[in-house]
Symmetry: C2
Subunit: 604 residues, 2 copies
């Protein structure tokens, strides 16, 4: 049967053959898991996704969320799915069982999330927010806060959100003006307005625990004076019973291009003067807590965007196999019959583009999950720092580069359907609309690019990037010894060497004070870094596939492994040369972006 | 005041300074026009667009079209705008005054259309369809058909459409099955079903004249057996009076991602057995008529996509000048004030990308219009053929390349607005949604790429492309003599030379029977051809701007001309190198796209 949402064979390939996730089970922390349980988890996630979530994708989009008399409602059909999702314990997959988590490797949780997000990502947003808010409580909460909130959040009984953005504080979080004043009982009174709050209110759950960024009276300006608070929608007494509704209300929801099933709320705190919260973590250390959570959140956004692309690819592939249109370009007979459009070279080029990017993105995201697992399993500070550094470099790529490419893939996925792709008869146009926000929220991709260039390039004196590129080099060296991959290995080595030159060039610009010219190349630098990592993942896959082919696999596995070689071949021969062009453009050192006067942009 | 929709200074620059459209007025055919009247036309179009059409963009999108009890209604607010549009005589701007046209140069009509499409392109679709259908009547109709229909269509009293696509005949028009049987009175009885018919029905006009592609009983299979018919919604008697309603009905409208103000209809012809039409042109020559019209239609689609990008750029620019967010990257003071985001290098990079592409696309489209005017004015068959050949090569670029880039520009235009860009509060997300269909209809961009490679590359034994590249060379040679442009001139010359190599390489592939491998590179070839033409247009603009700067222009014009130099500099230094990379990818001759087995795409 045709695969939908995500290609199971490929998910398994990355988990078991490329990343060998089973090895994690040798460690105490994951000793409850083995290949069989991992496969079962993926199967159950896939079942739930395809049977329950995917059928609601269109309905959720069309019904959307409503805001009436202060009440936010999500699409009615989401309620049953949410009950199933909660029952399965899918909200806190890789979290501590002490708090109701399933304790599974992050890598495996990502595989499950690939299915969930690919089948109905607007539905999933609520769960991801609840989990993220819970994680903040777990990491920074007092024993009391954890006891009161955490199990209920990880189980999905209550929801969570993240109140960060304000009308004048978007990319510039430090500009926020929401105020907190300490009360005699140790709680804080909070007043302010927040916007763009996903799941700021919902009728899925009776209570929502809102982490809120605010500035304590008298605290420094900018990010150094920001603290984090927990503000429950309904107050929770010390014995766990419900108190009064808190003074935090949704004042409206956005009309958006996509993710209609997820309410994007404007929130007023303390408009009636009695919004209360408790401090989460230390005073003025709110941004530090945010940064700790940011990697997880950004990796999730990458997964959301990628999952749209993954679903779009399979839809396009299945359609191309069935849709008969036009005769073969090689047919000489005027009356030659029509053929499935997968036989047309332009469609094949689109499909192979989607395939190779989808596969490379899947590997990159799962690999980032593996690095998270390795941080958890590391026994020395050096190992931990090394893995964490690799994650830190990967995150802007996993969020920024991946969602940029995912949006392009979703756009190609519409093209394969021709006019039908533009209609609501097929999911392609919704995947494109939903995917668009992944390039924007959790830090626009411009912010991701600045993060890579400004923070990550020089992280640990440049060792973080170097360590990652050392991993790339390992694959190059293995591939070099395989006759059929020698050429690809050389191409990736050239790409990687050139990337190092570009990194040095930009580092030098930053050092010499050419800040603006350096950052004008932030996005191109993110692009070429991502290109390199895509090629790495595909070459790595090709190495694994070659070994499997040499070992005479079952006949039914042959096309899959051959497909791995083709993805690597296509990407390295047909996409990587663009990247070399992009790098030479960076090195050309053009300064038009910074030189041009504001007036010269025109428009007046 | 801030410019919206299209930058008037830039529109004037292309018309008067780059293309010197006033020279056309020296010819008899355009002797009624001069610079003053041309400027007046653009001003009036701009006024109507900005004051009447643009304010309806969002309302039209939200209200959309309805289909109830067989009746199609467009957004109610479109009716008044349509009356104004008709009154202004904007439907048939460059057509023969004998039939109610305004007889203006096509180049000038495109400038007006830039404003109309940029302000409300879903509204404009009706008018473009009416005009296109009218053009078919003008070109292929009998005296009687012209007398009965044409003035009413060109004046907008009646509408028009184009019934081409069927469920199983989309890109492959030759597969259509709609049948025509000749009646004794010379009319034809027509039966069949058509889909994706823009303006197939509407309540804007009392009658619609439908050109319909159908196959006469016994005609050959494929495109060779297709004829064109005129099927009025309400029959028109020989004296011009209304007869009975014809048996052509709308059976439903599509729910779409965008262009909600334009009804996309499914049409049933002859379901009750009495659909009548008259032959338009000759039997079995329907496709030939289509091809004659295709250039105009595709140029219009390019204009639609580009106009979305042009509007998105100006919106983004205006927003970036006003939105304060984040301090300068060069600020060392923690308490430094926020700055307008146009000061941030990543935003400037996005804006300069949008600016340079918008400008180059505008020049390319207007230039194509100029070539149409030159065909009209040519007095020798050689001249006519030369200009026509250039048009033929330009069309797939003007449609395919332009709309591909336009969609990307609209996506960037969302990014500049951050989270706001995803909301319906600003037009950015609608421009992106509306723009998407321009990559699909009137021949998907894959089809455009195949047209360029398969038909246009070898057109007139390759002379058509050669003649176009000769024009490019002329600009290179002028720029070479200007010290400040010498470097850019060299870069474009290298690009152009490399493009010729790629063209030769692909021609050789086609000749040697490597059809599939050649067409696997159709889209990349379209991309690099378009890149070259963009760079040409920007260098040409820079040549003109340099001359103007040398002539000591008014102070208020300085930033505009400097902006021209910056666009050329940015594109040639920062975008063209990618194109060289793309060309080396083509020349690498990778065959993975054609080699990969269908099974190896996975998904099973």
């Amino acid at each position: 049967m045709a695969q939908v949402v995500a290609d199971r064979r490929d998910v398994d390939f990355v988990l078991h053959e490329q990343l060998q996730v089973e090895k994690l089970c040798q460690y105490e922390a994951f000793s409850d898991f083995n290949k069989k349980t991992i496969d079962l988890i993926v199967s159950e996630a896939r079942n739930l996704a395809i049977k329950e979530l995917f059928p609601l994708l269109k309905e959720g989009d069309e019904e959307g969320c409503t805001f009436n008399n202060g009440v936010v409602k999500v699409p009615a059909c989401f309620h049953k799915a949410y009950a199933l999702f909660r029952e399965g314990g899918w909200i806190a997959m890789s979290d501590d069982p002490e708090w109701g988590g399933q304790g599974m490797p992050a890598t495996v949780a990502l595989a499950a999330n690939n299915y969930f997000n690919g089948s109905n990502y607007p539905f999933m947003l609520h769960n991801i927010l609840a989990h993220g808010a819970g994680k903040l409580v777990e990491k920074f909460g007092t024993d009391k806060q954890r006891e009161l909130f955490l199990k209920k959040m990880y189980s999905g009984e209550w929801g969570g959100s993240m109140l960060l953005t304000e009308p004048e504080a978007g990319s510039d979080v430090g500009a926020l003006t929401t105020k907190a004043v300490k009360n005699e009982d140790g709680t804080y009174s909070i007043t302010g307005n927040k916007i763009f709050i996903s799941s700021g209110d919902t009728d899925l759950v009776p209570n929502i625990i809102h982490p809120v960024l605010a500035r304590i009276e008298g605290a420094p300006a900018g990010t150094a004076g920001i603290s984090l608070f927990l503000v429950p929608k309904i107050w929770v007494n010390d014995d766990g019973s419900f108190g009064e509704p808190n003074d935090i209300i949704c004042t409206g929801i956005e009309e958006k291009m996509g993710i209609h099933g997820s309410p994007t709320c404007s929130m007023a705190l303390g408009s009636k003067g009695f919004c209360r919260g408790t401090l989460l973590g230390e005073e003025n250390k709110g941004m530090r807590a945010m940064f700790v959570m940011m990697n997880e959140a950004r990796l999730h956004v990458g997964m959301q965007g990628f999952s749209c692309a993954s679903a779009s690819y399979l839809n396009a592939l299945n359609y191309a196999r069935e849709r008969v249109q036009g005769k073969s370009l090689e047919a000489t007979d005027r009356e030659a019959p029509g053929v499935p459009i997968i036989q047309h070279p332009d469609i094949r080029r689109i499909l192979l583009t989607m395939k190779s990017f989808s596969e490379a993105m899947r590997s990159l995201l799962f690999y980032t999950g593996l690095m998270e697992d390795m941080v958890k399993l590391s026994t020395t500070p050096e190992d931990k720092a090394r893995y964490q550094g690799i994650i830190d470099v990967l995150i802007p790529v996993a969020k920024g580069y991946v969602t940029d490419r995912a949006f392009e893939m979703c756009s190609l996925g519409v093209q394969v359907f021709g006019g039908y792709g533009f209609t609501k008869e097929y999911p392609q146009e919704q995947l494109l609309r939903d995917c668009k926000i992944t390039q924007i929220y959790e830090g626009t991709n411009g912010i991701q690019a600045m993060d890579l260039l400004g923070r990550k390039l020089g992280l640990n004196k440049g060792d973080a990037l170097k360590n990652l590129l050392d991993e790339v080099q390992k694959t190059i060296e293995v591939a070099r010894e395989i006759e059929s991959l020698k050429g690809f290995s050389r191409s990736l080595e050239m790409q990687s060497a050139q990337l190092k030159q570009v990194a040095l060039y930009l580092t030098e610009k930053l050092r010499s004070g050419e800040i603006l010219n350096a950052f004008a190349n932030a996005q191109p630098f993110l692009d070429v870094t991502g290109d390199t990592l895509m090629a790495w993942m595909l070459l790595w896959r090709a190495v694994v596939a070659t070994a499997q082919l040499d070992a005479k696999p079952k006949k039914k596995d042959l096309p899959f492994y051959e497909g791995q070689l083709k993805s690597a071949q296509f990407f390295i021969n047909s996409v990587l040369p663009h990247s070399l062009g992009k790098m030479s453009a960076i090195m050309a050192g053009d300064t038009s972006v910074t030189d041009i006067s504001e007036e010269a942009f025109g428009g007046k």
